[in-house]
């Protein structure tokens, strides 16, 4: 037990003795003091209290910008002059033979044609990274980003692929990254959950709660969805008609009766419940202040494009910064919808322009804002979808898009001890396959955990007879991208 936990525990005990006016001898000290297995919160200590990592952590927090639906790397980051040359030509046999794709029955009915992008690309910054015209703001922070290209994942359907990105498995029931992390090292924010989920765009992410589930870990580690309007957390506000004084009195009364019962039974769980109620009350007090974006300067709001009281990706980015500022360990933002297959509402024209407009400025602002506040070094920002899209076009109702592609997609990271301005991995000239070493989702998991001071092979939990971990049987730390 580290010092912080120890103090907390003693604090609870002192409170308990003082208020109950009893001597030490009257209760079974042995059980109160008994320390339990690692990762089981001792009596009176929140399961979310900060815990010691396996080795010193380089960073404190993660902000994960999840682009739900699978953004097209070819329209955003991957400049492929060779692909332009083959535009309209049938895809080579080797791209199709023995391969499986989503919408197999329609996609490969006729040989799909290669699709060059219609978007103009330019190089930016010292790094010379390419960006398309759709991301002018992100391009302006090019030198703060590190690109991972040719990343591969496991499954070409949205729901299972999202679960894989988040939990390391394609089926529901496993703990998500944020749950593993808070299980491993707790959270620094005493008044807030350790793992917060924010959401924007026309619809929630496919698979829903399975994406931030605690799986077989205790529910204390599950992601807590914050709503961008109203109460950020369900039931955070006291009920109508209950004043602050009333709420406080009620909690005191509950606490007093619980303490008396703790004395009578000697059951540690009651001490934990007392601590839970105390933290609930602190959350109630800090919540409204947290989501009040009106407290931010005009310049900051303008930089993000945030408008207080509105539900948007921009507001969520700003809220994410406020959350990590308050010690929240893992913030995940979902923004939909990036599923550009073609057709009137899902093509690579206006629909793509709209979603890139929604995210471009806030993403850049988040990186800038963290940097100017000196928080970027200790916060790892990740921008990623669940997979990328094919270099072949997909035509639906005469409007073109791209199909899901799991072998070579692109994501970026910023801060959190990464080496700014570099690219790791790459793809062949047509962007179909990784050209260099494989980068897999489990490698990204391993690297994230590493930065937080966690050894991905040691962060395990026994379930159904097996020690499970976020990285399943894979995972290598991507040392190249670390400073």
């Amino acid at each position: 037990m580290d010092l912080e936990q120890r103090i907390l525990q003693l604090e609870t005990r002192r409170h308990f003795f003082r208020n109950c006016g009893l001597g030490v001898g009257k209760i079974a000290l042995g059980t109160l003091m008994a320390e339990r297995l690692a990762h089981t919160a001792p009596a009176g200590v929140s399961p979310l209290a900060a815990k010691k990592p396996h080795f010193p952590a380089k960073i404190k927090s993660i902000i994960y910008l999840f682009m739900a639906g699978g953004p097209s790397q070819f329209e955003l980051f991957d400049y492929k002059p060779e692909l332009q040359k083959f535009d309209g030509k049938p895809a080579p046999d080797s791209f199709l033979k023995g391969k499986r794709f989503a919408f197999m029955d329609t996609f490969t009915k006729d040989v799909p044609k290669m699709l060059g992008t219609k978007r103009a690309f330019k190089q930016y910054g010292q790094s010379g990274a390419y960006f398309s015209e759709l991301l002018p703001h992100t391009a302006a922070v090019a030198d703060d980003l590190v690109f991972l290209r040719g990343v591969s994942t496991e499954n070409f359907n949205h729901g299972p692929a999202k679960m894989f990105t988040n939990t390391g498995f394609t089926r529901a029931g496993r703990p998500s990254m944020g749950a593993w992390i808070t299980y491993g090292i707790g959270s620094e924010g005493m008044d807030l959950p350790g793992f917060v989920v924010l959401q924007s765009g026309p619809r929630g992410p496919r698979s829903g709660a399975a994406l931030w589930s605690s799986g077989f870990l205790p529910t204390a580690y599950q992601g807590v969805p914050f709503r961008s309007t109203g109460d950020p957390i369900l039931d955070l506000s006291s009920p109508n008609g209950v004043s602050l004084a009333h709420q406080k009195d009620a909690l005191d009364a509950i606490g007093d009766l619980n303490r008396a019962h703790l004395l009578e039974t000697g059951d540690d769980e009651i001490a934990t419940r007392i601590a839970s109620y105390e933290m609930a009350f602190r959350m109630q007090s800090s919540g409204p202040e947290l989501i009040d974006l009106g407290k931010e300067s005009k310049d900051t709001l303008a930089m993000y494009g945030a408008e207080p009281g509105k539900g948007s990706f921009a507001n969520n980015c700003l809220l994410a910064r406020r959350l990590v500022e308050r010690g929240v360990r893992f913030v995940q933002l979902y923004h939909s919808d990036w599923d550009h297959h073609g057709g009137p509402t899902q093509n690579l024209g206006a629909p793509l322009e709209q979603v890139t407009r929604e995210i471009d400025q806030p993403c850049a602002a988040l990186v800038r804002d963290l940097k100017q506040r000196g928080m970027l070094d200790e916060t790892l920002v990740i921008w990623s979808g669940e997979f990328g899209r094919t270099p072949m076009g997909e035509v639906r109702e005469a409007q073109v898009g791209r199909n899901h592609h799991i072998d070579a997609y692109t994501l970026w990271m910023a801060g959190g001890g990464t080496r700014p301005g570099i690219t790791v991995g790459g793809t062949d000239e047509l962007g179909f396959s990784p050209a260099e070493e494989r980068i897999e989702v489990h490698d990204i998991h391993a690297t994230i955990l590493h930065q937080l001071g966690l050894d991905h092979t040691k962060l395990t939990h026994k379930f159904q007879g097996r020690d499970f971990r976020l990285t399943d049987v894979g995972g290598k730390i991507l040392k190249k991208l670390l400073a």
Partner: protein
Amino acid sequence: MRVLLKSPVRSQPRGNTCYNPAIDHVMKSASSKSLLVAVIAIGCTPAPAWQAGPNGFSPEAIQFFESKVRPILATKCQICHNEKTRTSGLSLETRASLLAGGNRGAVVDTNSPAKSVFLTAITQSGDLKMPPTGKLKAEEIADLENWIKIGLPWPEKTAKATRSGADHWSFKPVTRPEPPPASKTAWTRNPIDQFIVRKLAEKNLKPSPEAGRRTLLRRVSLDLTGLPPTLEQMSAFLADTAPDAYERAVDGLLASPHYGERWARHWLDIARYADTDGYTIDAPRDIWKYRDWVINAINRDLPFDQFTIDQMAGDLLPNPTQDQLIATGFHRNTPSNFEGGIDFEQYRVEAVVDRVSTTGAAFLGLTLGCARCHDHKYDPVSQREFYQIYAFLNSVDEVDDEKNRKNFNQPMLELPTPEESARRAAWTAQRDALNAELAAYEKSITGDRDQARTGPAQPSLSGGDPASPAASDSVVRASFSEDPGWKERKANLAALQRRMPKVTSTMVMRELPKPRESYIHLGGDFIRKGAPVSPGVPAFLPPLSESQKADRLGFARWLVDRRNPLTSRVTVNRMWQRYFGKGLVDTENDFGTQGDNPTHPELLDWLASEFMDRAWSQKAIHRLIVTSATYRQSSRNRSDAAAIDPDNRLLARQTRLRLDAEIIRDSALLSSGLLARAVGGPGVYPPIPAGATSVTQVDRVWKTSTGPDRYRRGMYTFFQRSAGHPALIVFDAPDGASAVTRRVRSNTPLQALTTLNDQAFIEFSRTLAERVSKEAGPSPDERMNRLFLLTLGRQPTVEESQRMKRFLSLRLDEFQSDPESAKTLAADVAATGNESGNTAQVAAWASVARVVLNLDEFLTRE
């Protein structure tokens, strides 16, 4: 595991993977495509060496094997390919096992030895490259080639019959230990206690005294029915001074319909029951009839062996009853993916794998899922055996193809209510009438045309005469499609078709007429088919009965065969766990070699044999446990026992257990008098916080139930896998993703926010306060007593009463000076109840009730 191909691109998706370093080596060189299936020829090509058999080899040939071949096998091959490890299902320890091949099929092609997988692997001329540590020397390869050519000379040796772990305690037959007679004391009530006392005595510990009668009745009511006792039940019990008062109370509870609800919910956790299909779309599905079947089966104490058979294979029984068909919903509770663009077969396979794992957890207490990609690392279950069990469950007639997308929930069983039948009949009559009208209309047109053509009359199109030639049929159709009268009638028919009245249905199992072929899936990947397998049970367990067919029904009967050492032990252990927090075997889902040993092995076996001897009656075992002195003990912590047995594994006392998610709701409903006691029926929609369902792809409308359905037990709340009701999820209700044999009991601030602030709990508090004011006298003491009796089943202590009255008076002051708040909190109760006109009183008492509903004692079974 890493699959490194020449191209870094993976050409096939992989299945779920687990770690096995040995497999890792193999897979590094594995091809995703090559699957050479060799044919073992028997007598096709005369080759004397092959026919010679192991004992017919010349001493020179044996000498060659011993000097040249065996050293290579021993140093380069058998590290992975031995009887124990059997990497890729292949053992190279004996001639027989070599010839038997592995998961890829045969490795030696006796027809054309040069083409053997064994040789292409060691010459590294194909995709599979062996050994993984580096290519053999040229002369070693030559020796092995020669060895195969001369017919694999090898001295006879039989492989070890058993794999590791087969002598593990739980794999041995259930015994019938005698309860230790010496441990029979004044304290013991039945044989359970004798086993418990003996272990305690070994540590010089004494059991705890019996809990107080109020505590005892509250405990056993919550455990058996999931509801605290009513005031009437409590008074009757306290007034009953007969020595068997408790036993009679237990019998009453076991006879209550709520007993079936409570114990059904435990089973539904294992059955991964939910009302939606999970994954991406998470659409509602009809399967609540299965949930009701479980409740009814438990209420009528359907013997557990039949309970098992009906669920696993009710459809295969001779002349199954409707109930037995509904029961097969058990294995239709698998999550299903119907996202656009999927490969249906992939998710069907996923469902079958889930059925294997769930069967393992539910009945056998085995982690069978570990053997999906490779042999089980710890238990004697090979990958082949995993797929043999898979083969039992692989032939359900369910959708495996995009073409059948619209039938994705099939097979379904229609169970129309009389009203639904009537509606359906009316609809059918209307459809038949429209059809007849269309036919008549067509006839009138074709009649005109025929007259003009003076040809033979064309048959009715809607009738679909098979004799009519297709060509002329389409000609006629084409001419109809221009006729406005025909088009109108056709459209009417189509519109009616869309309005076919829905009837109550439920998902069931139905076997394909011809079973699907089953294979070992190499690395767990459904695309990479290895050797074919036929249905079978693991070799370390008793065989299928010879009188049974090797099908799903035979497998179900095998699960509950008296000779099966696991099912009865696993089941009684899980019952035990519900009463004491932990089972006699702590790892309730792992009775394998990595699981814990039982703390009381004799007691476990005694209970298991008792269970079978009492014809698998669950009620009999429940009664036995809850009437034991062990169960009736006080749960107060004892420092003397804690010092010796901190985790209370020896049971020197009972254990306090936080109530399950649904039971917290149910207790509050019962205390406040709101509970609607109806049993069964479709899922209901109690109030839900705004925005709670918007966290998933489809923000489904939550039509909050009105009337009694608003106050149904928590287990009837419609359960959406991707967005479960927050008040259930926050208290650890499972999400239906996979079998849950024990719930986590967490203790978090979000739980506090729920019971403090959620509107549902405010409603309970307010109604409870109203009830108290109606039922108790006007004095605060009388009311406080009543409130505690209704919620905690006891009166407050003097200190508690004083503390609560202090809180009450503060609230009264506040609400008198702030009538707006009082009105808000008291809501319509003040207007209608007998406290009308005194909103401050109602609001203040609602506040007090809210405090009590948040006490640890209210949320806990003592």
